[in-house]
Homo-oligomer: 230 residues x 2
């Protein structure tokens, strides 16, 4: 097993080279392919554009190892926190709309998720707009995203918060795949709400990956349905 | 109205001089006396010991102004986070004991608070030790303290989290004075659990003051009993 990490000074990214045949975290092609689909393309493109530091030929893939580009945890935290500046929690009409807007976006673009909101299974976007319930829920969801962004570089606290979130949602009997899927909806909302850069999106998707990983571990420990990670 | 701020470079403290006859935040003697009782003595003593930068004669009190020593928000955050290093959340026996220990301390030293734990009104410390309920609650309380420490330098998120905490506790009909009193119990537990320095205690008490201030504002907005701040 071997690993090599180079840091691109001043940018906060690492280039990790890892043997994938024996390293647990990157075990198997499946995991890598999924990761690649969600994150790698955008991340590498942004990285190349911003720094000129990753020539195409360095991005290799052989039977022996994969080259993985990842951001420092602190850098991801800062990007996510920064991306939320115009989506702050609070008590003013703008702040309340920041949270409710997430559910308007979700109901408009992912109507199949309405099944998890008892009594609102047939709500339209207009119904959500008028709803006190989704005003409150919106503020809670927005706060949760602010919290995970702010604490992402404190791994134990991040994971503790995730376990507590799972505990609180136990009663809703959610499809365990939604803990990963959420981040597609979330970044979609952020993009629709204004400017989410490629780099910020990549940061959120990496945070979401780590979030989901702890979710599945905790669901398994609770003897609840979970998604097997490769 | 005038204000002067000097920063003690490399230490993270500010010395603020403010006119108290016209400045809202320091309005009146009552507020200042309460602040002084909770924070000033320890803070100034620590500051003098650590830096030698605050000669006694600078600490003045006239009719026109008070000299107030306060820490930078980021410095308070870092001190609180640092003080929790040996009280991490998690799933190991040590981590679980870190949380449950808070309730053992609380039931042992503040038995009058047991009334808020339905069914456990007559619990001894030994009962708490054996209790799954307080294992779970302990982890939640500990996580909450980690969260507020980590997000303290992001004021909007800090205040959003406080409002959400109040919303979740509404059902327990707590005495509103407990939102300030909690921090005496909390820092007492931390001190009993190991080493809480004077400086870390001062940081937690300042965080607790700000926490309580937002609690009382939110309780008032919810038309619930609240403590009038001076």
């Amino acid at each position: 097993m071997w690993e090599h990490i180079e840091t691109l000074a001043g940018f906060g990214w690492n280039i990790r080279r890892k043997c994938i045949s024996c390293c647990e975290p990157w075990k198997g092609k499946t995991w890598f392919n999924r990761w690649q689909a969600h994150f790698r393309t955008a991340a590498i493109q942004t990285l190349r554009r911003r720094t000129g530091a990753v020539p195409l030929e360095q991005i290799v893939c052989t039977e022996d190892y994969q080259e993985v580009v990842s951001m420092d945890r602190k850098r991801i935290r800062d990007l996510c926190v920064e991306s939320l500046q115009d989506l702050m929690v609070g008590t003013s009409p703008k702040h309340i709309a920041n949270g409710k807007g997430f559910y308007e976006y979700s109901f408009g673009n992912f109507p199949e998720l309405r099944v998890y909101f008892k009594g609102a299974e047939h709500y339209t976007v207009e119904d959500v707009k008028k709803s006190q319930r989704f005003e409150d829920k919106g503020q809670r969801a927005l706060l949760a995203c602010h919290l995970v962004a702010n604490i992402y570089d404190n791994d134990d606290v991040f994971r503790g918060y995730i376990r507590e979130t799972i505990n609180r949602h136990r009663q809703y009997k959610m499809d365990p795949a939604l803990w990963e899927g959420f981040w597609t909806v979330w970044t979609g909302y952020m993009a629709s709400a204004g400017c989410l850069t490629d780099e910020q999106r990549a940061a959120w998707m990496q945070l979401g990956k780590d979030f989901n990983a702890e979710c599945q571990v905790h669901l398994k420990n609770l003897n609840l349905p979970f998604v097997q990670n490769n």
